[in-house]
């Protein structure tokens, strides 16, 4: 005789996870449409439109959520697994915007590279769904699942160019290392679970606040492994080595998407885990972040100096940018969080803009020629396109009146605010890195404005017919440039936006 004990089901607030549902539903729907309209010519345009609509719906839902959580406080649902707060919604908006850019950029690109396939759109949306999940995750297991949901489609997207071995090599490297690091991350979860008896972030915080651990080793090792796993995703040195290869090998729209959205999602997890679950251990994780930030800023900037490939240079520079954002995490204050959020927003658009130009400007048919020689004189031949790339790299360098300057100023300011010696040392390293970074950003700009010597390879680059900027890419470029400029000139609105979003 079995006693009919009632099963307590957790309350599910569908409203909280509506954007994620929208993206997943659209992604699955795309696969269905693909199957139904197999041989139809219209399949790609139809899928593209559906994907755009799905993203816009998700964006609309996020906008609704923003007002609700800002006014009424966070929504906690699904047995405390999901927590929708201003912080999550802010990064969700960044992610959806970056996904939209990745989608719009891909339309013409896929046709041009003869890769036309609606699967691309579906994978992109599913990855974005994983990222949204990551921003709202309030449980280490959810973080892990989100990490995999965002990563697995990305592995495929990176290797999407079946004809280009480098794309596949990049995909394979990303996959092997990604799987390796998520195993490390998972081990971290296991150890934290073993030490605290829970995987819920708020549960861990409550437990650590209420109990003094007799033996901290398990917890600390677990925390360290969590940081390693997330350090991999944000591309912090020394877990960065996949970044240049993957960014270079991946199809350029995917690179843009990764640089902007993956970074935002991974930093969402970093910020949430260290600040909500382990505030008591800030003296233990802050030194680790200090070292990661310092190394990332220096290695990223220095290694970018000697590259001969524009796409790869931008990849290394993204490592340096991860270092800057880590400074904001390191600051462990609401000011630092605000600065990190703002920087994630502005970096997303600077990176998308730069990679969008790279996508259009590379000569030759197969998205492989990105050496400095291939870009020589671009701004002379095509002033608007070249000028945009110069603008985006100068913004990344942090030239005043661009969003990059405002972002850097906020980040450095947040570190300066803490005011201890080690903070100042990190600040000096950051400024030094920014100064070094100036050199290679200017090298790119300089390459674009100098006319090529009459070298045969360069002459060949000249002879190829310039590629037209299609409408969708034009929209992305205009949007990214406008935002980069507006944040630089009138940052007030955006700083307030980020300040509203610091609340967990």
């Amino acid at each position: 005789m079995i006693a009919a004990a009632p099963i307590a089901t957790p309350a599910v607030d569908l409203w909280a996870i509506a954007p994620i549902i929208a993206l997943v539903a659209t992604g699955v729907g795309l696969v269905l449409i693909r199957a139904l309209l197999r041989r139809n010519q219209a399949v790609t345009p139809v899928c593209f439109s559906v994907a755009v609509v799905g993203l816009l719906v998700a964006a609309g839902l996020l906008a609704r959520q923003w007002h609700r959580v800002r006014d009424d406080g966070p929504i906690v649902s699904l047995a405390d697994m999901v927590r929708v707060d201003p912080f999550a919604v802010f990064l969700g908006i960044v992610i959806v915007a970056a996904t939209l850019a990745g989608l719009l950029l891909a339309y013409a690109y896929l046709r041009r590279e003869d890769l036309e396939a609606p699967e691309y759109f579906a994978l992109l949306l599913l990855s974005a769904a994983g990222m949204l999940m990551m921003t709202t995750a309030n449980d280490l297991v959810v973080v892990f699942v989100a990490l995999e949901v965002l990563s697995i489609p990305l592995y495929v997207l990176v290797a999407f160019d079946r004809r280009r071995l480098r794309s596949q090599e990049a995909g394979l490297k990303y996959f092997v290392l990604g799987a390796f690091s998520s195993a490390v991350f998972l081990y971290g979860i296991a150890l934290v679970y073993g030490a605290t008896g829970t995987t819920s972030l708020s549960g861990i915080a409550t437990f650590l606040a209420g109990n003094t651990l007799f033996e901290q080793t398990t917890l600390l090792v677990g925390l360290g492994l969590l940081l390693v796993g997330l350090g991999f995703k944000v591309a912090a040195v020394p877990f960065h080595m996949w970044t240049p290869d993957v960014y270079q090998g991946a199809p350029t729209p995917v690179t843009a998407f990764m640089a902007a959205a993956t970074k935002a999602a991974a930093f969402a997890a970093v910020l949430r885990i260290v600040l909500t679950a382990f505030p008591q251990y800030r003296d233990d994780w802050r030194p680790i972040l200090w070292v990661l930030a310092a190394l990332s800023m220096l290695v990223g900037a220095v290694a970018a100096l000697v590259q001969n490939d524009v796409k790869r240079t931008l990849a290394y520079s993204s490592i340096a940018h991860a270092g800057y954002i880590l400074m904001g995490v390191y600051a462990a204050s609401s000011r630092g969080r605000e600065a990190a959020l703002l920087y994630l927003l502005v970096y997303a658009f600077m990176a998308i803009g730069a990679f969008a130009v790279v996508m259009i400007a590379a000569p030759g048919p197969d998205d492989a020629k990105h050496s400095y020689d291939d870009y020589r004189g671009l701004a002379v031949r095509r002033p608007v396109l070249g000028g945009l790339l110069i603008f985006f790299v100068l913004a990344q360098a942090g030239v005043p009146l661009t969003s990059g300057f405002v972002g850097k100023l906020e980040l450095f300011g947040s570190v300066a605010q803490a005011g201890e010696t080690s903070d100042y040392v990190l600040l000096v390293i950051g400024v030094l890195s920014a100064v070094i970074a100036f050199a290679f950003y200017l090298r790119i700009a300089w390459t674009l404005v100098t006319a090529p010597d009459d070298d045969t390879a360069v002459a060949a680059a000249y002879s190829t017919r310039p590629r037209r900027v299609d409408g969708w890419t034009g929209i992305v470029l205009a949007g990214a440039a406008a935002l980069t400029l507006v944040v630089g000139v009138l940052p007030g609105t955006f700083i307030h936006f980020a300040r509203d979003a610091v609340f967990f």
């Binding site: 080793t217 080595m241 300066a416």
Partner: protein
């Protein structure tokens, strides 16, 4: 509309040249050659007019109320601290406005003729206007961050203009050198800003003076010294002076505008704005004072033996900037500003005159093959002689009053060490300027003797030829971009490039600005005569430096310091006259250089200072010296610049060599990182 309302519109002044720059960058090619120049010049004229209006508006206010800050909008709101975009009208900013727009106007006008025929004519004026706009933003800003914005802007324009003839290899390298050196200074500036934000949460100038009193002397010293590092970069103080002489690769009007009259004074401006910190921190003042004094002396010794007219003027500029820093260090802020103004007049005149000489004798910059040019360039010679008397410190020309005020302040302040150094530097100033003037305009004519090339028939003898970028009138098929006009010390004189022509005077459009500046050099002293109530500039600026602990010099002190410095000037002029009265016996024998060997070799290659002096004391003779000459220039100086670059390149290569493509290696990287993190948490954390 009352005066304060007018001053609220100060922000319009930088916008005028900015608009000019934007128009020229967008449609410069369509506007075409003469009109682009006139457009830019017109914008500068309007800006100058605006500055004059601002001056009168400011003068109509009571002396202690001459401060009008207008917050246009909040630029960056960040927590408790926010940065606005605003303008600050006070005597200091208006003085600089007049300087930048006035001298800028002269130089724009001059450039119309000087750049005639250059393929990038309109772009040159776009850059000039952009530079003026940045400089004006720097000056009118009401907070450090906005000043920094202008600061970066002038740095960028300087880079663009130095390497304007970018196909010339030296020009591109020089541009880069200027850029790198200025970045070093920028690190100081940025750190100072962060320190100021962290200490009391504002960057506004009006908030600094009261705030400086409440912070500790240590913090004030740190802030002042960091700002000083920034100022040293822009104002070419030792040891960040390297870039200025190389910057002479740019077109001569650029040298005049940026590297003599305006941009290099930005450092002085910054130090004036930061005076509250200097008042609190005695240590920082002493450091600045000595850096200025040493720079003034050492740059002077280098200028004495330079064969290249522009390089000699460049070292002279460094030396004069040293005076300004010296003045700031001893608390003579008004004296420093006075010096900035007078220096802009006479050095602007000298550079423009040098440009006229270069223009008129086939792009030759080597003074050893000039001589007796007063016959051919009478107007230029007249103007430059006035400027010479001014800079040499001969009363009653402008330089005398400015330099003497600084020396009097140093003497009265009790800093006899710097006073002596400054007085010796005054002697050197007289020597090198007299040498420059006599080698160029007087003595024997040497251009014919040096003209080894056979005379060619006159192609076009008109006065509008000989544009440096397009010197087809002189050089035939030689590519002007491959040209290396700069003559370094120790280089034998080259054949004259006149090819049988005679040097010729420049067009009127170039002469007018030269004469205007010469006139100002003559009468500039009237701005601030040290008699009773005639020190107008002093009275005008005094409210800005409220609370500065200046020293009132007694009459006896004044007479001592002034008398000695006039004596020094006369001695210097006499020495140079004695040596160069008749010019040079032969272009490759410079008596001063020959007689003073090996000292002249030492100073000729300026860079022994840094690392060479200790090695040189070991006593090798001339051969050793010239060996050092080569090695040090190549290894140490270029080494210092290239070495930094090389270090980072090496580090970058090391970092990317690790990235060898093996995925296993990458996994190893992750694992090693993990081990390091775990090692840290196990051994150190959790305590």
């Amino acid at each position: 509309m009352n005066a304060r309302d007018i001053l609220d519109y100060l922000g319009i002044i930088p916008l005028l040249p900015l608009a000019g720059a934007v128009i020229l960058l967008l449609a410069g090619r369509r506007i075409g050659e003469p009109r682009a120049g006139w457009l830019a010049t017109g914008m500068m004229a309007l800006a100058f007019l605006g500055s004059v209006v601002a001056l009168f508006a400011l003068l109509s206010l009571p002396a202690d109320g001459r401060l009008q800050v207008n917050q246009v909008f909040t630029w960056i709101p960040a927590g408790t601290f926010s940065v606005g975009m605003g303008t600050q009208a006070d005597p200091l900013s208006v003085t600089w406005l007049l300087l930048v727009t006035g001298v800028g106007l002269c130089i724009h006008l001059y450039s119309i003729a000087y750049m005639h025929g250059d393929p990038l004519f309109s772009r040159f004026f776009a850059y000039l206007n952009l530079f003026a706009a940045s400089m004006l933003i720097l000056v009118v800003a009401d907070n450090l961050l906005m000043t920094f914005l202008g600061w970066e802007g002038v740095g960028l324009c300087s880079y663009l203009l130095i390497s304007f003839w970018y196909r010339r290899n030296d020009a591109a390298t020089a541009g880069k050198k200027a850029f790198v050196t200025n970045r070093v200074g920028d690190v100081g500036f940025l750190l100072a800003m962060f320190l100021i934000i962290a200490t009391y949460g504002t960057l506004e100038y009006t908030a600094m003076a009261p705030a400086a009193e409440i912070i500790s002397a240590g913090t004030a010293t740190a802030i002042a010294l960091l700002l000083m590092v920034g100022a040293m970069g822009k104002s070419a103080q030792l040891p960040l002076h390297l870039w200025l002489t190389d910057a002479m690769e740019g077109p001569t009007p650029v040298s005049a505008l940026i590297h003599a009259a305006t941009m290099v004074t930005a450092g002085v401006f910054l130090m004036c704005r930061a005076y509250p910190f200097l008042e609190v921190s005695h240590d920082a003042s002493v450091v600045i004072m000595w850096i200025g004094a040493i720079t003034a002396l050492l740059a002077g010794t280098v200028a004495v033996v330079q064969p290249d007219i522009k390089r000699a003027l460049a070292y002279s500029t460094i030396s004069q900037l040293g005076y300004m820093f010296l003045a700031i260090g001893v608390g003579g802020y008004e004296a420093a500003v006075f010096m900035v103004l007078c220096h802009a007049f006479y050095k602007g005149c000298l550079f423009l005159g040098a440009g006229s000489v270069i223009h008129g004798n086939g792009d030759n910059q080597d003074m050893r093959i000039m001589g007796r040019y007063r016959k051919f360039l009478p107007v230029t010679a007249f103007a430059m002689v006035i400027a010479w008397l001014a800079i040499a410190g001969i009363p009653p020309f402008a330089g005398f009053w400015a330099k003497d005020e600084i020396l009097v302040e140093a003497y009265a302040h009790g800093d006899y060490g710097v006073w002596i150094v400054g007085t010796v530097a005054a002697l050197l100033t007289a020597v090198y300027m007299t040498r420059l003037i006599f080698l160029t305009f007087f003595g024997n004519a040497r251009y014919e003797a040096a003209d080894a090339a056979p005379a060619v028939p006159v192609v076009s003898g008109g006065s509008d030829e000989g544009d440096p970028a397009d010197a087809d009138g002189h050089d035939g098929d030689e590519d002007p971009f491959e040209d290396h006009p700069t003559v370094v010390f120790g280089e034998p004189p080259r054949p004259s490039r006149l090819h049988g022509h005679r040097p010729h005077e420049s067009p009127v459009l170039m002469l007018v600005p030269i004469l205007v500046l010469a006139g100002l050099s003559a009468v500039g002293g009237l701005l601030n005569l040290p008699f009773g109530k005639l020190d107008f500039l002093h009275q005008f600026l005094e409210p800005v430096f409220e609370g500065a602990k200046g020293v009132k010099a007694t009459t006896a002190q004044k007479l001592t310091a002034e008398g000695l410095s006039v004596l020094m000037a006369l001695i210097g002029v006499s020495i140079a006259l004695l040596v160069y009265r008749r010019g040079l016996r032969s272009p490759d024998r410079d008596p001063l250089v020959d007689r003073l060997r090996p000292v002249s070799t030492l100073t000729g290659n300026a860079y022994y200072w840094d690392a060479g002096v200790t090695r040189f004391v070991g006593g090798p003779g001339e051969r050793g010296a010239s060996w050092l000459n080569r090695v040090f220039d190549a290894r140490i100086i270029d080494g210092a610049v290239n070495g930094t670059a090389w270090l980072f390149q090496w580090a970058g290569r090391a970092a990317s060599r690790v990235q060898d493509g093996y995925v296993r290696r990458y996994a190893l990287g992750i694992l090693l990182g993990t081990v390091a993190v775990l090692g840290f948490v196990l051994l150190w954390a959790g305590r």
